[in-house]
């Protein structure tokens, strides 16, 4: 009876279970091999470095569950940052006015992706590969090779913690949005539309799912999240540059796939992505504080991904 329930749970959530076990293992091994790892102040402080990747993991999960990909998110971070910094330092617009505009700019850039994917029926891989270069290029046109500073009193959001805890502001934002995105994917009609679109877009369309509208909203949401990340990154670094956040989209996709979301769409949980993201963070932190060389860190993440995928597939016989 119990074993059959476990069996059913395993069949449904093998990847999530695998990454959860790996996360616990990574934590225990890191703490055991490296005493300097077990320092809450250090762990929470260092995790703020992954704020933007953690946030993008949430929206990327939705995109991939819908059977698509968004490679342009990190370019949107750089471009929105460039727009905001330019408006602030060259046109003197108050910075506090620009902060709420960041998700709006980001959302617009995401909607452009959505338009080409949903209305023009172009593959999202191609569209966002193009806008990845386009938005990065426009950021460089705006800023050149120079950097623009943000106001000093806006810098350092990652140093502000919730009273009496180690929870830095970006972590609080991330945890809140984890819950919001979990509810969005697993509890709302929009979330259902995303999943059925990912399972089979044509069947979804004939069942009355507004596929195009869902996709446009989804890419807009992805862009808006990148906009939020942009203002957080500006605060963390205190400076806008065209080459910030470059290459992070691959870290984001790695976390989503490691968390059990099918790259072909139709299957995935926010929980899996969140745990996979924490797993990568913990593994990198553990190796970092143990002084493991960068090339070995990269290799380990690659092996981890392969291992997790193999473990969850072999035993369930999932194709």
């Amino acid at each position: 009876m119990i074993s059959s329930r476990i069996r059913r749970l395993w069949n449904a959530y093998a990847p999530e279970i695998v990454v959860t076990i790996l996360l616990i293992l990574a934590f225990v091994i890191s703490g055991w091999r490296e005493p300097r790892f077990l320092d809450a102040a250090y762990l929470f402080d260092r995790s703020t470095l992954y704020t933007e990747i953690g946030l993008l993991t949430l929206s990327m999960t939705l995109i991939i569950v819908a059977g698509h990909i968004d490679l342009s998110v990190t370019s949107i971070i750089a471009f929105v940052g460039a727009i905001i910094a330019t408006l602030y330092s060259r046109y003197g617009i108050p910075f506090w006015l620009l902060i709420p505009l960041a998700p709006v700019f980001g959302g617009f850039l995401g909607a452009v992706n959505g338009y080409f994917v949903a209305r023009r029926n172009l593959p999202s891989l191609v569209v966002t590969l193009a806008t990845m270069a386009l938005y990065r290029g426009m950021a460089q046109i705006l800023l050149g090779d120079s950097s623009l500073m943000t106001p000093p009193d806006y810098t350092g959001i990652e140093r502000v913690t919730l009273p009496h805890t180690y929870l830095h502001t970006p972590l609080v934002i991330w945890i809140t949005l984890c819950l919001v995105f979990a509810a969005l994917l697993h509890r709302t009609v929009f979330g259902r539309y995303i999943t059925v679109t990912g399972v089979n877009p044509e069947a979804a369309l004939y069942s009355g799912v507004p596929v195009a509208q869902t996709l446009i909203r989804l890419f807009t949401l992805s862009g808006a999240m990148a906009g939020v990340c942009s203002v957080l990154l500006l605060s963390r670094l205190g400076v806008a540059r065209y080459d910030h956040a470059r290459g992070w989209e691959l870290d984001v996709i790695t976390a989503v796939v490691l968390g059990g979301t099918s790259i072909f769409g139709g299957r995935g949980t926010i929980y899996g992505s969140v745990v996979a993201f924490l797993l990568i963070t913990i593994v990198q932190t553990g190796m970092g504080v143990a002084g493991v060389k960068a090339e070995i860190q990269v290799t380990a993440i690659g092996l981890l991904l392969l291992l997790a995928v193999l473990l969850s597939r072999l035993t369930t016989g999932r194709k």
């Binding site: 749970l9 449904a12 959530y13 999530e16 959860t20 996360l23 616990i24 934590f27 091999r33 490296e34 005493p35 300097r36 320092d39 809450a40 102040a41 250090y42 762990l43 929470f44 260092r46 470095l49 950097s147 500073m149 810098t155 350092g156 009496h164 805890t165 180690y166 929870l167 945890i175 984890c178 979990a182 697993h186 509890r187 670094l237 205190g238 400076v239 540059r241 080459d243 910030h244 470059r246 290459g247 949980t269 926010i270 929980y271 969140v274 745990v275 924490l278 990198q284 932190t285 970092g288 504080v289 143990a290 002084g291 493991v292 060389k293 960068a294 090339e295 070995i296 860190q297 990269v298």
Partner: protein
């Protein structure tokens, strides 16, 4: 429903795992933690020194731009040389890619690992400001090596720069001038047309040429090889064709000078055209020994690392202040004077010839 329940349960579990409620007593400081006995595993792939430094030893780490860059291997050699002479525990680590923010996690990790001094060749002049501030608030000294945080000097304790770049142009003109006996036509083969370093040096060269000493030398042209081998070869061949009486080519770029040497060798004009510029001993050794080129100059990365190690040691012990006009001793390299903004110049460029090139390995 089941899905959600499972999700909430597991999510809660993971939060509990991570929940960091701050204890009322302050947690052990990084330095206190690092004083624990060195039980740390030295597993394969860890850096040379993973265990905690014994009391009294100064822990110095050097973070270059990225791994696998031979130039920075030279700097590391200098640090290693110095660490045999003074009581420092040296290690080096770097990100895989030279991205502007990639060094941040390495800095945080090294603070946690108990570094006393972090020497770094920064990938960004401003994105590292806040992590440098954190490190210094915890008593860790920050010393930039090879490049400075131009405009943000207040975020680091000092800087060790390879050579006095203001004088490099004049230095190069004197080098080619002495080789050409101060007479004849010569040309410059540079990197890209908008390379800031080379353009700054070329400005210095033109300035230096106004000296009556160089009155019989004529700069006939400047060409750009874009720091690409093939383009540099083509441009050098163009120069030789256009100016049959050319006596010298000055290439202040390591890619360029190697390409020009190759052209002079294949055209068999080494006895007529003098080639010199900036290049590393390892890439130019063959041309120097075969008599294709008489000499080539470059500042010495190992010397820079060596001096940075001595500066780090002194700063950590409190003997060296990186304030203008202060000075400190650097073992066999003599003493160095701290300049404006806490900048220390490692030394004038070294000149490599067939006689001394084997003494250098970088």
């Amino acid at each position: 429903m089941k899905k959600l329940r499972f999700f909430l349960m597991a999510f809660g579990a993971s939060l509990t795992l991570l929940a960091g409620c701050k204890p009322d007593t302050p947690p052990a400081s990084p330095t206190a933690t690092s004083a624990t006995p060195p039980t740390t595993a030295t597993e394969a792939g860890t850096t040379t020194a993973t265990t905690s430094a014994p009391a009294g030893k100064v822990r110095v780490v050097y973070i270059p731009k990225n791994t696998g860059n031979p130039y920075f291997d030279g700097v590391v050699k200098g640090f290693e040389q110095a660490s045999k002479e003074i009581d420092i525990d040296f290690s080096t680590t770097a990100p895989a890619q030279p991205d502007p923010t990639a060094q941040i996690s390495f800095i945080k990790d090294e603070i946690q690992r108990g570094a006393n001094v972090i020497c770094i060749t920064p990938n960004s002049v401003d994105a590292l400001n806040s992590v440098f501030d954190d490190a210094r608030a915890k008593g860790v000294k920050i010393l930039t090596v090879n490049a400075d945080l131009t405009g943000n000097e207040s975020h680091r304790d000092g800087a060790i720069l390879p050579t006095d770049f203001d004088k490099l142009g004049a230095n190069q003109i004197e080098l080619i001038g002495s080789l050409m006996k101060y007479t004849g036509k010569f040309a410059i083969l540079s990197a890209t047309a908008d390379a800031p370093d080379q353009n700054f040096w070329i400005k210095g060269m033109k300035e230096a040429l106004k000296d009556p000493k160089y009155a019989k030398m004529e700069l006939v042209g400047i060409v750009y090889g874009d720091d690409k081998d093939q383009k540099s070869v083509t441009e050098a061949e163009g120069l030789l064709t256009k100016y049959p009486d050319l006596k010298g080519i000055l290439a202040p770029t390591s890619v360029g000078v190697a390409a020009v040497a190759k052209v002079v060798e294949s055209r068999k004009v080494a006895d007529k055209v003098i080639v010199t510029g900036l290049g590393t001993p390892n890439t130019m050794r063959r041309y120097l020994k075969d008599g294709i080129i008489p000499a080539v100059a470059l500042w010495s990365p190992p010397e820079m690392g060596y001096i940075a190690a001595y500066a780090s040691f002194g700063m950590s012990k409190g003997d060296v202040k990186m304030t203008p006009d202060a000075s400190f001793k650097t073992g066999k390299m003599g003493s160095r004077i701290v300049g404006k903004n806490g900048v220390v110049i490692a030394g004038p460029p070294l000149v490599f010839t067939k006689d001394n090139v084997d003494k250098y390995d970088f």
